[in-house]
């Protein structure tokens, strides 16, 4: 993956509103080593502890797999979290470390590996969440394909009953706990703080811990594949769940960690929304996604503990032998269902409401209209959440629970249809008379409207008790849940991912592939799940590996549909991976949105805003000329408003160090902050002007190729004078002087840097370039590589002149190749002499050229041209080959070059009769 935007520490005066960032220097491998050690230590510690306790208190047997497994799973996981670094800050605080200074050593990333480390930047955490949840989505999808493959025909295809139950349990568990619930945590983590005008979330370290709970949970679920997959479905009803083995314990523990992640993230979101909104952002000026996230977070905080409780109880029944669900001992089996569903119904709203928020954002932006009925939309979110706490028993209409409870639950269930309907109507009304632009995010939003509508309607069916009695536990429910989850979660997640992809990565995704992804998914969804309504009503129950042969056709069709969904998902991943690596650069606001995240760079700066933005209106002010939602300000030292075209000048003074990698990298990294334009001024002093001009031209060409806007000129005079005059003219924010080290730098010996500082009064940074670097061939493909092939001509002044001329005509990198036709013996005295003289001539030529400002390197090759040239061309991959000869002796060379060149153009240059250096 390409580098995330934020840059390493800068000299004083650099951007970030004054934040100095010193990244923690320990490599990612250090943290993972610690994490593995922590896990192992936790497991061993728990084994030891249990052994000692059991021996002490006389428990028989001394080793009980279930108990040991459960405790080791828990403590091992905590060991992992400690090792990866989640608790370091708090442990340090507990030990008395001074925490008065803000610690940003884990903020932002500078290379892709750091995504695998603890990070406190909400943008990084957001991407970590997305990466992790999409990974688990792939696993869950794989399980779905295995299920559908087994169901393609009656009878056993690929799995027996036990394995199949494992597939279906794993499918739902992964999809719900480590994909659908946390994925919105990822999207909102990235987008919400920026949308609110904040620099980060309220509790960045808690944010990091919340993320790391997730891989713990997901890999616990996946680990059950080695111990025997849990097979009681994601609902894990006892007594079936109490019969399970270690796999079931892993399920229970995993749910706890996933739940903890959810609760912690929710607390973070609520604190952020309440306390960190930008000035002027009343709650009625928040984008609807903020409302959705806030309401969802309330659900998560108050409902999730119930599933934790339910899993504790089944775990205790299994590993401790308690009797919560053993009727003979006073236990109550249905009690589990009440406790479980008290969370799991609000859970479905946790999986839906943020998606509703995303769709609201997208429809407003792509229909160029304010969101219809903003307040009703906000209230309906609240209503759905509140009512959502009162409907749980509609999952239990046939469970044998107290019969009197069914009718009140039916009433509350259908009441929820009203606010949900209000949202539907409002989205339609937003589209009405709009200016509808159908790009991929909008396609997903429209697809959501259709698909979720069908899911919602089938939900009304299921809400009526006598109808539910027929349809509960059948494929009708499977149809309903996949319509609302595919439509309400998957479609909205993809909508959000495509919508904010340019913001997150700074690149545009491929629109055509996005459309293919959508249509294939849309068609696949209808094909796979619509027929399920029929087969459920006709008598096919849920969670079966086998069925009555009259359902065969329908099942085969659905299996085909599911494969379509799989292919569509592959297209998605291909699109985002290739686009992130090499897609076209994205502007700040590709969708002309009004909310705050579109008013900063893509990707955003390290702390989002250098200065707190000011909110001046609602978030959907489309249709009103000059209406603004907010004003974002440039860094304090500049003042005024920050726009995409804002650029503050940086003056760069360099001569001999111009083509060095160090300087180029320095310029590139500053450019990634988005604030600077660069003026290069080259003081010639008493050097050769042409040389300096060549160097400057090469440097500007390389920078242009990387998309950096830079201009430059060569100036007569000594460095201090030139710098002073340029500073007066340009009024730069900062001045950068690049020199060689003290031993080689005349500027340094004459103390020029300090003099410039005093003379200009502008902050001056000094970049020291190692001498080899200043002479090194630039490793990028930024400039075309010209390969010059010569034998006798090497060492001749005419060759150097020819190369200089060529460099002046068009900046390029040069490689001089001299193939040697060595006599036998190849290491005899004559051959060695040939090598030595060729080497000397090459060195002389290359030095001369470097000193004239040409980027060049040379190689003497130990083979005749016919053998050497193919090797050289393969290694260097030049864009053009020039064969240089003296007085036509290069004909043989030219033939060899043409033979080896393939498509590369070959030119000839005749250097005349002059010979010798």
């Amino acid at each position: 993956m390409a580098t995330h935007a934020p840059a390493p520490a800068h000299a004083p005066g650099g951007g970030h509103g004054g934040h100095e960032i010193h990244q923690d220097p320990r490599p990612v491998s250090y943290w993972w080593t610690r994490a593995i050690l922590g896990t192992v230590a936790g497991v061993l510690f728990s084994f030891l502890l249990l052994f000692l306790l059991r021996a002490l208190f006389g428990f028989e047997p001394l080793y009980d797999g279930a108990v040991y497994g459960g405790v080791a799973g828990l403590i091992g996981a905590i060991g992992f979290l400690w090792g990866i670094g989640c608790f370091d800050f708090w442990l340090g605080w507990a030990k008395g470390k001074d925490i008065s200074e803000e610690d940003h050593s884990f903020h932002g990333v500078t290379n892709w590996k750091q995504y695998f480390r603890v990070n406190t930047d909400h943008k990084v955490i957001g991407i970590q969440y997305l990466g992790m949840t999409l990974f688990f989505m792939l696993w869950g999808g794989l399980m779905a394909l295995l299920i559908r493959t087994e169901l393609a025909a009656p009878g056993q295809q690929i799995a027996d009953g036990q394995t199949y139950n494992g597939f279906l349990s794993m499918h739902a568990t992964l999809m719900i706990f480590v994909f659908a619930v946390p994925v919105f945590g990822g999207i909102a983590n990235y987008v919400l703080p920026i949308m609110l005008g904040a620099k980060d979330m309220a509790f960045p370290r808690l944010n990091a811990l919340s993320f790391w709970f997730l891989p713990v949970a997901g890999f616990m679920f996946l680990a059950s594949m080695f111990t025997g997959m849990f097979g009681a479905a994601w609902t894990a009803y006892p007594p079936l769940a109490s019969q399970g083995t270690m796999g079931q314990t892993l399920f229970e523990l995993g749910v706890q960690f996933a739940g903890a992640s959810s609760i912690a993230t929710a607390i973070n979101f609520l604190a952020t929304i309440v306390t960190m909104r930008a000035p002027g952002m009343t709650i009625w000026r928040m984008p609807i996604l903020a409302w959705a996230t806030g309401v969802t977070s309330v659900l998560a905080v108050f409902a999730t503990p119930f599933i934790a409780g339910s899993q504790f109880l089944t775990m205790f029944d299994r590993i401790m032998g308690t009797n919560f669900f053993v009727p003979d001992q006073g236990g109550d089996v249905i009690m589990y269902q009440h406790i479980f569903w008290f969370y799991s119904h609000p859970a479905v709203y946790i999986m839906l409401l943020p998606g509703f928020g995303i769709i609201s954002e997208i429809i407003a932006t792509f229909a160029r209209k304010p969101l219809f009925g903003y307040r009703a939309m906000a209230f309906s979110l609240v209503a759905i959440a509140v009512l959502g706490f009162g409907v749980w028993a509609h999952h239990m209409f046939v469970s044998g629970m107290a019969p009197w409870l069914r009718v009140p639950m039916m009433v509350t269930t259908i009441i929820i249809a009203v606010p949900t309907g209000v949202k539907m109507w409002s989205w339609l009304a937003t589209l009405w008379q709009g200016k509808i632009h159908i790009k991929t995010p909008m396609l997903w939003a429209l697809g959501f409207l259709f698909t979720f509508l069908l899911g919602g309607l089938s939900g009304v069916f299921l809400g009526i008790v006598p109808a539910d009695i027929q349809m509960s536990d059948t494929y009708f429910v499977t149809a309903h849940l996949h319509y609302v989850l595919y439509g309400g979660t998957v479609f909205t997640v993809f909508a959000g991912l495509y919508y904010w992809f340019p913001k997150m990565t700074g690149k545009m995704y491929n629109e055509r592939l996005g459309q293919w992804h959508f249509w294939l998914t849309f068609a696949g969804t209808q094909l796979t799940f619509f027929p399920m309504h029929w087969q459920g009503l006709q008598g096919m129950p849920r969670r079966v590996a086998d069925y009555d042969p009259r359902f065969e056709t329908v099942n085969s069709v659905e299996t085909i549909g599911s494969y379509m969904l799989g292919i569509a998902t592959i297209i998605f991943f291909y699109n985002i991976i290739t686009s992130w690596k090499s897609g076209p650069k994205a502007p700040w606001n590709p969708w002309r949105g009004k909310t705050l995240e579109w008013m900063v760079s893509s990707p955003p700066p390290l702390f989002n805003f250098d200065v707190e933005p000011q909110v001046v209106g609602g978030p959907y002010q489309y249709g009103i000329p000059d209406a603004r939602h907010a004003v974002v300000f440039a860094p304090e030292e500049f003042g005024g408003e920050l726009t995409e075209d804002t650029r503050y000048p940086v003056l760069i003074i360099a001569n001999e160090t111009l083509t060095s990698q160090t300087l180029i990298d320095e310029i590139r990294s500053r450019d990634s902050e988005g604030l600077w334009s660069f003026q290069l001024v080259t003081p010639v002093g008493d050097g050769d002007r042409a040389v300096s001009e060549r160097r400057l031209a090469t440097t500007l060409a390389i920078l242009a190729e990387s998309g950096v806007s830079a201009t430059g000129r060569v100036a007569e005079g000594d460095v201090v004078a030139v710098a002073t005059e340029a500073a007066k003219e340009v009024a730069p924010h900062e001045l950068v002087i690049a020199t060689l080290p003290l031993a080689q730098s005349q500027w340094m010996r004459s103390d020029s840097v300090d003099k410039v500082r005093k003379a200009t009064g502008v902050p001056v940074s000094h970049v020291i370039v190692p001498p080899n670097d200043a002479r090194a061939l630039l490793g990028t493909a930024a400039l075309p590589l010209v390969m010059v092939v010569a034998t006798e001509a090497v060492g001749a002044e005419a060759l150097a002149t020819a190369v200089r001329t060529r460099a002046d005509a068009q900046p390029a990198r040069f490689t001089v190749i001299a193939p040697l036709d060595l006599p036998d013996p190849r290491w005899g005295a004559e051959a060695n002499e040939l090598r030595r003289s060729a080497g000397e001539a090459m060195t002389a030529t290359v030095n001369a050229l470097i000193n004239s400002g040409v980027a060049v390197e040379g190689e003497v090759m130990d083979d005749a041209a016919s053998v050497a040239l193919p090797l050289a061309i393969d290694a260097y991959k030049p864009s053009v080959i020039i064969v240089a000869g003296i007085n036509g002796e290069a004909a043989g060379l030219r033939e060899a070059a043409e033979a080896a060149a393939g498509d590369t153009p070959v030119e000839s240059v005749n250097l005349g009769a002059a010979a010798g250096a």
């Binding site: 509103g17 507990a94 008395g96 309220a202 509790f203 609760i263 929710a266 607390i267 973070n268 609520l270 604190a271 952020t272 309440v274 306390t275 960190m276 909104r277 000035p279 002027g280 952002m281 009343t282 709650i283 009625w284 905080v301 108050f302 409902a303 999730t304 503990p305 119930f306 409780g309 339910s310 109880l313 205790f316 401790m320 032998g321 308690t322 009797n323 919560f324 053993v326 009727p327 001992q329 006073g330 236990g331 109550d332 009690m335 009440h338 406790i339 008290f342 200065v611 707190e612 000011q614 001046v616 209106g617 609602g618 209406a627 603004r628 004003v631 440039a634 500049f638 003042g639 005024g640």
Partner: protein, 206 residues
């Protein structure tokens, strides 16, 4: 936080900007966390009530496996309850002393609170040893141990939190102006206390 530089364009005619930052984020976070823990106990209480009033239990108090009725040491636990409730008062007193500028008073208050909390836990453990039934006995006993056990675990966490506050109090980290971690810790301790009172009443008394 930087102030706004440059000019701010005129408001579009909507309501005046709302003042924020009246809410302390850390305390809000602690209250929400306590809310989630309350719900965790609610789920365990739910289990307890199903078992108690459920179909499977016609007699109350239920009978142990050996046929004898369960007996809970109400009086002793009542005394224990008083200890825990008092510890909330000593903590509150300590905070008041800090507000008056008396850091030593805070330290004393924290010590007494911690010691009383530890006493509560020890009496609780002693009670476990002498109850005469195990969690595996009947559904009731499982629910009893789970409720009291989870509560005890929360008390333990509370003691750790208070000890960390004590350590910082020794370093004079708290003052009238700044004492957010202490306040957060005291919210947690009061929550632990209130849950116990409820538990004692619902499980032991009635």
């Amino acid at each position: 936080m930087a102030t706004t530089a440059g000019h701010a364009p005129a408001d579009q005619g909507h309501a005046a900007p709302e003042k924020k930052q009246h809410v302390n984020a850390a305390l809000m976070g602690m209250l929400l966390f306590i809310g989630s823990e309350v719900m965790l106990f609610a789920s365990l209480f739910t289990a307890y009530f199903f078992i108690r009033y459920g179909v499977a239990n016609e007699t109350w108090p239920p009978l142990k496996q050996d046929g004898e009725p369960f007996e809970l040491p109400v009086v002793l636990t009542g005394v224990n309850t008083l200890i825990l409730v008092s510890s909330s008062f000593t903590l509150w007193w300590g905070e008041k002393r800090l507000a008056a500028g008396d850091n030593k008073g805070l330290i004393r208050g924290l010590w007494v609170t911690i010691l009383m909390g530890a006493t509560f836990l020890l009496i609780q453990l002693n009670e476990y040893a002498h109850l005469g039934f195990t969690p595996q006995d009947r559904a009731f006993s499982g629910a009893f141990y789970t409720l009291t056990g989870f509560h005890g675990a929360h008390v333990l966490v509370g003691l750790i939190v208070l000890s960390l506050c004590l350590r910082r109090a020794y370093k004079h980290d708290f003052s009238h102006a700044y004492h957010t971690p202490l306040t957060a810790g005291s919210y947690y301790w009061h929550f632990v206390d209130i849950v116990w009172v409820l538990l004692f009443f619902l499980v032991y008394v009635i």
